[in-house]
């Protein structure tokens, strides 16, 4: 048997005013999409920060005092850089109280890199004997140390295991690729041993058009892991106090700076989203007020046929929920599209790490977005629905004439 249902009536009512319904759908879609896109973007940055910081594994990074900004830029946005200091810094740092482990690294900006299209690669050389940042990954995934001209590459570089990469006249063999971290410092880097880096520098004088001058007395940074009963801040101060001309950057400091930036960004995005939301709430509220007003007679007729107040209330809310859910689904598509379209531009301009959140979190965010759009629709239609349900049938029929 054919049955007339309140939800069916609501759907037909929405179809009747197609343009208005489409505008309302678009409104919900834009608000939901903006909010979802922004939330996924912020989550992605937080995610990258969490994974990247974990992967960094160092509590303190010791760099030449004058290169502090470059070092931070290298860590956070993977900007290739070259700076050097004397190896004696490493010898001094490893003996400072509170330092559990220390390991030197070399940061080298390639003069030219023709293999990887427009991806900027960054050369990071580590000391296998003392390293605690790259070696754990090697042990877990490669199950053997790097030898000679072996390198491992970050996930963003378009090279595969077995490929050869030329740097400063030396060919390196790619023996593995790291999983994505969202931090360009890892994702766009080529990791090699310090011995290989020094040999490459020595060879560059005869084999490269753009030789580099690095001898074994030079390092770029010292990665430090602090003892359990010391805080990174305290050890950083001790290092700066004990060794001249260096800056000891606690990883907390880097992370908290990013967190501050993120918080500012979040406030901005939330402010815009809140404004959009209030506007959409008011517009939808006004639209539903109009819907109820122009259908007074019709609603009065339904009441005369025996519709209860709750059924009239449900009819209006049904229309709001239909608009909200459909608009919300469009919004999710819009949100993902906006994210894909502007992600790279935003990352580049913000200079912050980014890694798409995991599937579970994405599903949560998508459900959250639908719930948010439903709540918006319900809030916007609540007063008009209540007013519609309270109308006396005869008054509604008369006023609607």
């Amino acid at each position: 048997m054919k049955r007339i249902k309140i939800s069916g009536l609501a759907l037909k009512n929405l179809r009747r005013k197609f343009v208005r319904t489409a505008v309302l759908l678009l409104l919900v879609a834009v608000v939901t999409g903006t909010l979802l896109g922004a939330t996924i973007f912020i989550s992605g940055m937080r995610n990258a920060l969490k994974i990247g910081t974990y992967r960094l594994g160092a509590d303190v990074l010791v760099v030449p005092e004058k290169n502090e900004a470059q070092a931070k830029a290298a860590l956070l946005s993977g900007e290739p850089t070259s700076f050097f200091m004397d190896r004696s810094v490493y010898d001094s740092v490893k003996n400072i109280e509170g330092v559990k482990r220390a390991s030197p690294q070399l940061f080298i900006k390639p003069a030219s890199f023709t293999c990887c299209y427009n991806v900027e690669a960054f050369l990071v050389a580590f000391d296998p004997a003392s390293d605690f940042t790259v070696t754990p990954w090697l042990q877990k995934n490669l199950k053997k140390p790097l030898i000679d001209n072996d390198v491992i590459t970050g996930s963003s570089l378009p090279v595969l295991k077995g490929d050869s990469l030329p740097f400063f006249g030396t060919l390196f063999n790619v023996v593995g690729t790291m999983e994505p971290t969202g931090m360009k410092f890892f994702d766009q880097s080529v990791f090699m041993t310090m011995d290989a880096a020094y040999a490459m520098a020595a060879n560059s004088k005869t084999k490269s058009m753009q030789p580099i001058d690095i001898d074994t007395s030079k390092i770029s940074a010292v990665m430090v892991q602090v003892q359990e009963n010391f805080t990174p801040d305290r050890v950083a101060i001790r290092i700066e106090h004990s060794v001249n001309g260096v800056k000891a950057i606690a990883s907390d400091e880097v992370v908290s700076n990013v967190r501050r930036q993120l918080a500012g960004l979040l406030k901005g995005i939330l402010g815009i989203s809140a404004l959009l939301w209030v506007i959409s709430l008011l517009m939808m509220g006004f639209a539903f007020y109009m819907i109820v007003n122009e259908r007074q007679r019709e609603l009065g007729l339904l009441r005369a046929m025996g519709a209860k107040r709750a059924q009239i209330f449900a009819l209006i809310l049904n229309e709001a929920v239909l608009i909200s859910v459909t608009g919300g689904l469009f919004g999710i598509a819009v949100g993902f599209s906006l994210l894909l379209a502007f992600k790279d531009i935003m990352i580049k301009s913000l200079k912050l790490p980014y890694l798409l959140p995991s599937g579970d979190i994405l599903i949560e965010l998508v459900f959250g977005a639908i719930l948010f759009s439903i709540i918006t629709g319900l809030l916007a239609s609540l007063l008009p629905a209540a007013s519609a349900s309270r109308m006396e049938p005869y008054e509604a029929i008369r006023k609607g004439e």
């Binding site: 007339i4 309140i6 009536l9 005369a304 046929m305 025996g306 209860k308 059924q311």
Partner: protein
């Protein structure tokens, strides 16, 4: 049985209080057909709405089968309307987004109806001579056809009381005759009580009782 007891309904327009229905009392037996005649603005439609539970009186009672409907809660009154009362209006009262069949079945969305409802709706469409308009939308129907569908809808709940406000207003003579025949048949076969507000003295003459209404007051015409 319907008993209207000392019912008063007034409206305030531009600061002035006007009594649309002024202390009206009368009663109708089950299965009776009553017409109310009067000029525009005499309070006929308001009286019909008071009897049908659509607008609350300032004072007085409407007692149907022993129950004062204005003592009921809103939900009970809505259910009561859905089960026992139907209205026929003097204006086009179809929902534009529903087909003819759906419009007739619309009251069933608000109550519990049997599986034979659709069949009955189709029968009513047939009685109105509109069996070929089942899936037509109101915008594709003439004014007269729309009125006939609204009349068919008034019977879908097998009402005990039909309150009709100028039910044949814009129908041609033949259709008007058919509608009157339907009313008569419903009255005779199912003991449906009719209260018909009309300007048409010919229709009024065919009813068992006639009331005239003027300035909110009714008086009975003795045949």
């Amino acid at each position: 049985m319907i008993e209207v007891r000392h019912i008063i309904k007034s409206y305030t327009i531009d600061g002035q209080t006007l009594k649309a229905v002024d202390g009206v009392s009368f009663s109708i037996k089950k299965g009776e057909v009553l017409s109310i005649i009067g000029h525009s603005g005499s309070g006929k439609t308001t009286l019909l709405s008071l009897i049908g539970g659509l607008t609350r009186p300032d004072s007085g009672e409407v007692v149907i089968d022993g129950t004062n409907i204005w003592a009921m809660g809103d939900n009970s009154l809505s259910e009561f309307r859905n089960r026992k009362i139907s209205f026929i209006y003097q204006f086009a009262s179809l929902i534009p987004t529903l087909t003819a069949l759906e419009n007739i079945m619309l009251p069933t969305a608000f109550g519990h109806y049997g599986a034979d409802t659709e069949q009955y709706a189709r029968e009513l469409l047939g009685l109105m001579g509109l069996e070929n308009k089942t899936n037509s939308y109101p915008s594709h129907l003439s004014g007269g056809q729309q009125r006939r569908i609204a009349i068919a809808r008034a019977f879908i709940n097998r009402p005990e009381i039909v309150l009709a406000d100028e039910p044949t207003g814009d129908l041609d003579e033949d259709t008007e005759e058919e509608v009157i025949r339907l009313f008569t048949s419903m009255n005779q076969d199912q003991q449906v009580t009719f209260i018909i507000v009309t300007h048409n003295r010919d229709i009024a003459a065919k009813t068992q009782r006639q009331l005239t209404m003027s300035n909110g007051v009714v008086s009975e015409l003795v045949k």
